[in-house]
């Protein structure tokens, strides 16, 4: 058993993958908690797709992925804001338009490259097994920035998520904090692209946070649980990938989804099945009680 557990980590590429997925799990778990509480899952997905052209342009010109992605994220969030402020088009429609358009642009740009199919595949589904030491440093630094931003402005982000009107009356600049949040979210997405890829990054943002939400009624605990669940599902997914040959991104997301479903069904108090059992156990039943008393 111990051999089974330790075997994957004897390879350097697996150790790199392990560190990368733990970092991504923690970072996405933290920012993902705010994503689901604010109902921004669709925006998270859209950002992941819409920053694609930025990443591709950086890739073609040999620039830094992060810089390309951040520039794209800023342009996109400003674009979504401008379109939805026009009044006739709702926010989610604006997100939809920009998201699909941006992604198409990325695909078109990437298709000009000779290694198109292989590159597209690694962008879409990640290539966690090719994580290098420098990638790890970059992930750690960017991740730290995201965590510090969320920690530093935790009160503002919490107030905005709970009661937007009150936040505004407190003098909190909603636009500024929304932009800061979007940029932090984009950074979290970008550093996850290599590990889980464009298509599945949403699962890292949403699934562990949703699982944590089922388990607690306290934001602070939810954020911690969400990171722990994200990181552990990441490790679980790597095992699945190593022993079953499943692509790593898919393995991680499948483990996370299974954990969510199990929690949904069996969480203490809130689980669909557990709550039903508890209701039945505590349901008043005078005849049964009398029978038990008599037979005792």
């Amino acid at each position: 058993m111990i051999d089974w557990l330790t075997e994957p980590w004897q390879h350097a590429f697996m150790r790199h993958a392990l560190l990368a997925i733990v970092l991504v799990g923690v970072i996405c778990g933290v920012i993902g908690s705010f994503v689901i509480l604010r109902g921004l899952a669709f925006l998270g997905d859209a950002l992941a797709h819409a920053i694609f052209p930025g990443v591709v342009i950086a890739f073609i010109f040999g620039g830094n992925f992060l810089v390309g992605a951040i520039i794209a994220a800023v342009i996109i969030s400003a674009g979504i804001g401008t379109i939805s402020q026009s009044g006739r088009i709702t926010n989610d429609t604006a997100i939809g338009v920009i998201f699909a358009g941006g992604f198409a642009l990325g695909v078109a740009l990437l298709s000009t490259q000779r290694s198109y199919a292989r590159d597209l595949n690694s962008f879409l589904f990640g290539s966690i097994l090719s994580v290098k030491r420098t990638d790890l440093y970059l992930t750690a630094i960017v991740g730290l920035v995201v965590l510090v931003v969320v920690f530093w402005f935790r009160r503002e982000f919490t107030t905005i998520a709970f009661d937007r009107a009150f936040a505004q009356s407190q003098g909190i600049d909603l636009w500024k904090f929304d932009q800061a949040f979007l940029i932090a979210l984009s950074l979290a997405i970008v550093i996850s692209l290599q590990t889980v890829g464009n298509v599945l990054v949403l699962a890292m943002l949403v699934t562990p946070a949703a699982t944590a939400r089922l388990l607690t009624e306290r934001l602070r605990i939810m954020v911690v649980l969400s990171s722990l669940i994200g990181a552990s599902c990441g490790i679980g997914g790597l095992y699945l990938s190593y022993y079953r040959g499943v692509p790593s991104g898919a393995g991680v997301v499948l483990v996370a989804t299974s954990v969510f479903l199990l929690t949904f069904l069996f969480a203490p108090r809130t689980g669909t099945i557990t709550s039903r059992i508890q209701r039945r156990l505590h349901h008043p039943h005078p005849e049964r009680d009398e029978f038990i008393q008599r037979s005792a």
Binding site: L37, G87, F151, W152, R155, T158, T159, A161, F162, D163, R164, A165, F166, Q168, S169, Q170, G171, R213, T216, E217, R218, L219, M222
Partner: protein
């Protein structure tokens, strides 16, 4: 327009609104609103849905810029949020499924005194608990906010505003969907605040509540239809002008002589 202001012009208003107009789109949400609010008085804003009550409160709270006109507080122009003005939004705007306890929700109203890397200090926690105590919710401190009734939610909102209570308290429909004990508590607290010199401005749909608890009533339907003591401005002519055909007047003989008139919504 009736503008029966009980006060002499010499008394300086705490809040002076002059020709306020706010446009969301082509049609103004409020147009040419001029009002004064004095220290230690309760003013209720009455009007149908879409009359601009919430808009006016948001302009005073510094959350919404006016397209035209100005708001002066203590003689200086207001621009943006001001710590002297406390605002309690409508309950419906908050996310009541948010994973936060009653005490934590109240603590969000604490003015920042500790550095960002630190949590709330013991005295701050104690202040938040004292505010909860004031609204009769101290036993609910650890409860998840989603488990509260409408009245309890409104009490939590009031407690949160009390932590940083300014000289003006703005409330957007504090009596909507709220139980009678909570309404009574609010009225009692309003009296206390008023005695301390706080001005209270609240929006409501409840004509009887407004008549009972306010020093002055402002009938609003995009414009100020009438403003003054309830007995003087809440008459058939102005109420009809404010609410249109939505108000029904019931006239009943009084026990002594004469009749009493009650306005009810159709």
């Amino acid at each position: 327009m009736i503008n029966a202001d009980a006060r002499s012009d010499s008394a300086r208003a705490l809040l002076e609104m002059r020709n306020l107009t706010v446009h969301y789109d082509a049609r103004p949400a409020i147009a040419d609103v001029s009002l004064d609010v004095f220290a230690g008085e309760t003013v209720s804003l009455l009007g149908p849905n879409g009359a601009g009550k919430s808009t006016l409160l948001k302009v005073i709270a510094g959350m919404l810029p006016a397209s035209h006109g100005s708001v002066h507080f203590n003689g200086s122009t207001l621009g943006g949020a001001n710590p002297s003005i406390s605002y309690i939004p409508q309950r419906a705007g908050a996310d009541w499924s948010f994973p936060i306890s009653v005490l934590e929700a109240v603590e969000l109203g604490l003015p920042r005194t500790t550095p960002r890397w630190r949590g709330f200090s013991h005295p701050e926690r104690a202040r938040a608990r004292a505010a909860l105590d004031q609204v009769g919710m101290d036993t609910h401190a650890g409860v998840q906010i989603g488990a509260l009734s409408g009245g309890q939610q409104q009490r939590v909102f009031l407690a949160r505003a009390l932590l940083d209570r300014g000289s003006i308290l703005l409330l957007d429909e504090p009596f909507t969907g709220v139980d009678v004990p909570t309404q009574e508590l609010f009225v009692t607290l309003f009296d206390e605040f008023r005695a301390e010199g706080t001005a209270i401005v609240y929006a409501t749909h409840d004509l009887a509540q407004a008549a009972r608890t306010s020093d002055r009533v402002v009938l609003l339907n995009r414009q100020v239809i009438a403003a003054g003591p309830p007995g003087q401005v809440m008459i058939e002519e102005t109420l009809r002008e404010t609410f249109g055909g939505q108000v029904l007047f019931l006239t009943a003989p009084k026990s002594g002589s004469g009749t009493s008139q009650t306005a009810v919504f159709r």
